[in-house]
């Protein structure tokens, strides 16, 4: 049997295989600055995912039972391994999509490519192929294939339809709630309304440091430095409301919002050490030592951009190491309510995101990431280690500063 060559709208029956592979690719295979991703949505009969775990993408490369797995190590292709035989009955179809990462922000669209294609493979045998010429397409997210059940068989339909605005509307079509890059301004707290626990949205940002201890190492550019390294901390402004109202009086807790602070310990090549943080008004300097500057205090989290620390990467030669941390200045050390997200932006690199969601009880301090001058290379390591406070963290990293209690104005 030769492979069925599908045109948009056409369908064909798949062989009764235990498992198949779907390989997604595009041409040209490389466009400078463009990142193409593939994702799979496992859909119920209504065309929606049962829950967010049924959205398989770079941030979640396997479906709950492992029936659909993303394989990104297939050269120029992105592959999906799909165990048709063991897929639960509630999965009525699987839609295979391609998206351009931040396509809109970077003014990229599928029209910048010549074509995208998908191949369905049973073992090494190609059973179906769909090639979509993309000339003129403004879309940044396209559903290529839909695999679906029909009379106890699996079939595949070629689609080739999508969205100009990318993965966001595509995910919403399939019932996946996603977190936006730009969060809307916070709604005023409603103390008399019981908070409704919302499911955590799937995050579409690139997470390059998956686990604690992972690191990236960057070589210096030929004739320039590393540029500016930006740390940003943002958190949930609604946390105060969760403890407000009737229960706050009953439990006697403070109803004020959580105040999360971003700071860092620094150590220069000459051995000098110190701290940059809002507490004690240690704002730092960018052009001079310690080549780190704090962007200002955000007492409520209400500033859309949160708190930032900028590190002068061009002066890396004078820096030995920097430990960036976040701590809860006021209120119970309730990280779950704070819902903090730290983002590290390195020039020319995908953003690194660290979610501060994995603490032990009573620990209000979180070491986020360690930046080191590793023989001229810039090395960033995800830490995400929780401590009771500054002294404990200092000891753990052997910084050797002396700590006294302080407070903000």
């Amino acid at each position: 049997m030769s492979a069925a060559v599908l045109t948009p709208g056409a369908n064909t029956t798949l062989p009764a295989a235990q498992r198949i592979r779907v390989a997604v690719g595009w041409q040209p295979t490389q466009v400078p600055g463009m990142e193409v991703d593939a994702s799979a949505f496992l859909l119920g009969a209504e065309g929606k995912v049962p829950d967010d775990a049924h959205f398989v993408f770079y941030g979640a490369p396997s479906s709950p039972d492992g029936d659909v797995r993303l394989d990104t190590d297939a050269g120029d292709l992105i592959g999906f391994e799909i165990k048709l035989a063991t897929l639960p009955a509630r999965v009525a179809s699987i839609d295979i999509c391609v998206t351009i990462h931040e396509g809109q922000a970077r003014s990229q669209r599928f029209g910048d490519l010549e074509r995208v294609f998908a191949r369905v493979l049973d073992g090494d045998t190609e059973v179906a192929r769909f090639e979509l010429p993309t000339a003129g397409m403004q879309e940044t997210a396209i559903t290529l294939l839909s695999l679906y059940r029909r009379h106890e068989q699996w079939k595949v339909r070629a689609l080739g339809q999508g969205f100009v605005d990318g993965l966001g509307p595509l995910a919403r079509l399939y019932g996946v709630e996603i977190s936006e890059e730009q969060r809307p301004p916070p709604a005023p707290p409603k103390p008399d309304t019981a908070p409704v626990p919302a499911p955590a949205p799937v995050n579409l940002s690139k997470v390059t440091l998956e686990k604690r201890g992972h690191s990236v190492s960057l070589e210096k550019q030929q004739d320039s430095g590393f540029g500016e390294i930006l740390f940003n901390l943002n958190w949930n402004q609604h946390s105060g409301a969760k403890r407000g109202g009737f229960l706050s009086g009953l439990l006697g807790t403070d109803s004020s919002a959580i105040d999360l602070d971003l700071g860092c310990l620094w150590q220069l090549e000459n051995g000098q050490t110190g701290v940059v943080q809002a507490l004690g008004n240690a704002w730092g300097h960018y052009q001079g030592p310690p080549f780190i500057v704090h962007g200002g205090d955000d007492r409520t989290g209400a500033m859309a951009e949160g708190e930032t620390i900028r590190i002068n990467g061009d002066r890396l030669s004078q820096i030995r190491r920097i430990l960036v941390f976040a701590f809860i200045y006021e209120g119970a050390p309730n990280w779950a309510a704070a819902d903090g997200v730290a983002t590290v932006r390195l020039p020319g690199q995908p953003d690194i995101e660290v979610r501060l969601d994995n603490p032990s009880a009573g620990q209000g301090m979180c070491a986020i990431a360690l930046i080191e001058n590793d023989a001229g290379r810039l090395k960033v390591t995800k830490e995400e280690r929780y401590f009771r406070g500054h002294p404990e963290m200092d000891r753990a990293y052997g910084w050797g500063l002396r700590w006294v209690a302080g407070s903000k104005d």
């Binding site: 709208g9 056409a10 879309e139 339809q161 100009v164 079509l173």
Partner: protein, 192 residues
Amino acid sequence: MGVSLSKGGNVSLSKEAPGLTAIDVGLGWDSRVTDGSAFDLDASAFLLSDSGHVRSDADFIFYNNLSGADGAVVHQGDNLTGEGEGDDEVVVVELGKVPADVQKVAFTVTIHEAETRKQNFGQVNNAYIRVVNKADGKEIARYDLSEDYSIETAMIFGELYRHGDEWKFKAIGQGFAGGLAPLAKNFGVNVG
């Protein structure tokens, strides 16, 4: 809930709904939810004689000729987007007023400008045709085309036809190459 037909199946409307005098033939499909060119689907009805052809061009009921056979068959108007709940387009048939030399009425749906917009039925979801008793609003028969189409741009959804003294309805689900013009020519309409 009426009789659910599959492709080729038929049902006697007269038996399912004794005393039936008029029907709404509802045709539906889901509008496009993705970006790109909108889908504009058009329902038409062809009043056909024994020969399988229209008696005259006036028997071609479509968006530019909404009423035929002295009001026996009336198209309720064009829906440009397929948006909204319920049937997208409806054709009302007064069974008693259908001329005796009309043997059957074919209901078709075509995709407007399918070729230039590169569209076909494989990209349309949940297409159906159903027959509703005008008197009480109850559905008598329904045919979900779901899988009975692929890359066609014109489809015959169903047929209403005489069988002795009865009116019957048959699920057709037959695709047709090209758009409304070749389909109309096939039924004997002189398309300019």
